[in-house]
């Protein structure tokens, strides 16, 4: 499959002089196809293998249903609206928690990175908190906050806080001291140094934290929705499995993967905008 596409742009230029424009389009199309396949070929192959293996009966179609059934379930859930409510509540939980983590972690991280004694004093306890799995603490949060929305949001908040906090702090701490000295030579005040040197210098590191936190938020979202929820994508995954609606279960999983990809792409796009100067991020 791949070879055919690579062959195409090589064979077409021979007849180019005779037929002109149409061939140029074909050639461009061929090149785009090669680029597409070199990036997504393995993914496409994986999906194709899944479809064939499931519909040909190589695997148990009840456990791994063919893709068309999953897509049909997904379409039904989205177009029919039955999954939209779950998506909304999940986005709300993850969004509030992630937003709160951003609101707490970035200012605190900037402060900790700037004021050494604060960092020294807070670091040990933060390390202990960070190394304690948020999932292990979830029962504690449920005891403290009840089984409702608050404990769910709090456990996500808790888990997303640390990657962002630690990356922000280290981003501030790792700003080149030679640049700080340069700014000082021009008479920059502490605030100006912070605004013009420290903050922009920490942005790439903050984005690493944001992307880690976004991933963590979705992870914890599902875990929290699997316990004591009656709505949400994580609940749908569990619920569909209990009721043996396997295509629906996979549809929910696909939605999750999609949300993760969208969140990551949005952050990458934002980072590209803010950090045109740095090397492109992957």
């Amino acid at each position: 499959m791949t070879l055919q596409h690579i062959d195409r742009p090589i064979t077409i230029p021979a007849s180019r002089s005779e037929s002109g424009l149409g061939d140029d389009f074909l050639r461009l199309g061929g090149r785009a196809a090669v680029r597409f396949l070199s990036r997504y070929g393995v993914l496409v192959g994986f999906l194709a293998l899944w479809q064939v293996a499931s519909s040909a009966g190589w695997v148990n179609a009840a456990v791994l249903p063919p893709l068309d059934m999953i897509i049909a379930a997904l379409w039904k859930g989205l177009a029919g609206g039955s999954l939209l409510g779950d998506i909304a509540i999940s986005l709300q939980r993850a969004g509030i928690a992630f937003g709160a983590a951003v609101a707490v972690a970035i200012p605190l991280g900037l402060f900790m990175g700037q004021v050494r004694p604060v960092e020294t004093a807070l670091d040990p306890i933060l390390q202990v908190f960070r190394q304690t799995s948020a999932l292990a603490l979830y029962p504690v949060f449920i005891l403290l906050l009840g089984l409702g929305e608050t404990s769910k949001i709090f456990v996500i908040f808790w888990a997303t806080l640390f990657p962002l906090l630690l990356n922000t702090t280290s981003g501030v701490k790792e700003v080149d001291p030679k640049l700080l000295e340069m700014a000082r030579v021009y008479g920059a005040s502490r605030l100006t140094v912070f605004r013009r040197v420290v903050l922009p210098g920490a942005v790439p590191s903050i984005f690493v934290g944001l992307r880690l936190s976004a991933t963590t938020a979705l992870l914890l979202l599902i875990a929290s929705e699997m316990i004591g929820a009656n709505k949400g994508i994580g609940f749908q995954v569990m619920n569909a499995q209990y009721n043996f609606q396997i295509p629906l279960m996979f549809a929910a999983i696909v939605i999750l993967a999609g949300l993760g990809l969208i969140a990551n792409q949005a952050l990458v796009a934002l980072q590209r905008r803010l950090c045109r100067w740095s090397n492109p991020v992957n």
Binding site: D176, A183, V185, G187, G201, S278
Partner: protein, 254 residues
């Protein structure tokens, strides 16, 4: 660029500085006395550990002496000041600012409005020959170009005294010679007092009105050598070579 009636006179009196290294006090400057004239180019040479960079950093206000005093135009120096600018060995550019943004940075920090700062920066970007690269980011520049940006940034704040800490030390030999010529040209056009640290003797002779040789061993005295050569200087000229031999002798190398 500005008139001739500028300050930029430095007087250094009984300046001493030592560092503690592994519990031992290590004197790098011992009761140094020196007057730097307004508008001259003084180049400081000396073996490593002789304190030449320390002296420059004290002049810049980035370090304080243990004893003694530095005064500029009669005013004692405490910390950094608007009449001085420093060019470091590394360009120290902010990677998120364009060439123009970096050159304007010093002015903006000093409270000049962005538009005005960039207007003045543009002049110095052109002066160092980077007009076409005004919008480039530092990551797109070669080492020599980046250092030109650093030089332009220092010039843009129009200091009376330009302090240069081995500014060409990290450049390759060819680029270096070109940049020495550039520095000589800038110095003559800008009417600025230039104090430069280097360990390149040829560079010292090429640029300096006077060369200050800092002693390495205890009890040695600092020496000043006048470089009495017409400008622009010719490296292969007999007298140039003779100065080079004289300096080498000072270091016990000839």
């Amino acid at each position: 660029m500005t008139g001739s009636n500028r300050g930029g006179e430095v007087s250094i009196r009984d300046l001493s500085k030592s560092f503690s290294l592994g519990g031992r006090q290590l004197a790098v400057l011992r009761t140094l006395n020196l007057d730097i004239r307004s508008g001259e180019c003084l180049v400081i040479v000396g073996a490593s550990g002789s304190g030449k960079t320390t002296l420059l950093r004290i002049l810049a206000g980035l370090e304080t002496a243990d004893s003694g005093a530095v005064a500029i135009d009669g005013q004692p120096v405490h910390g950094v000041g608007a009449e001085r600018a420093v060019i470091f060995q590394e360009p120290r550019l902010l990677p998120w600012l364009s060439v123009l943004g970096n050159v304007a940075f010093g002015l903006e920090v000093r409270g000049v409005a962005k538009q005005e700062a960039e207007k003045r920066a543009r002049f110095y970007v052109a002066l160092v020959g980077l007009a076409e690269f005004a919008d480039a980011f530092p990551s797109q520049l070669s080492g020599g170009m980046a250092q030109r940006v650093g030089i332009a940034r220092a010039l843009t704040v129009q200091p009376e005294i330009l302090l240069l800490d081995e500014p060409l030390g990290a450049l390759d030999a060819m680029t270096k010679i070109g940049m020495q010529e550039e520095l000589a040209r800038i110095w003559s056009e800008e009417n600025v007092t230039m104090v430069m640290v280097t360990h390149d003797l040829e560079e010292a002779i090429y640029l300096a009105d006077r060369v200050l040789i800092l002693p390495k061993e205890k009890g040695g005295a600092a020496r000043l050598i006048d470089i009495d050569l017409p400008r622009p200087r010719e490296r292969s000229e007999t007298r140039f070579v003779r100065y080079r031999e004289e300096l080498l002798r000072e270091f016990g190398l000839h």
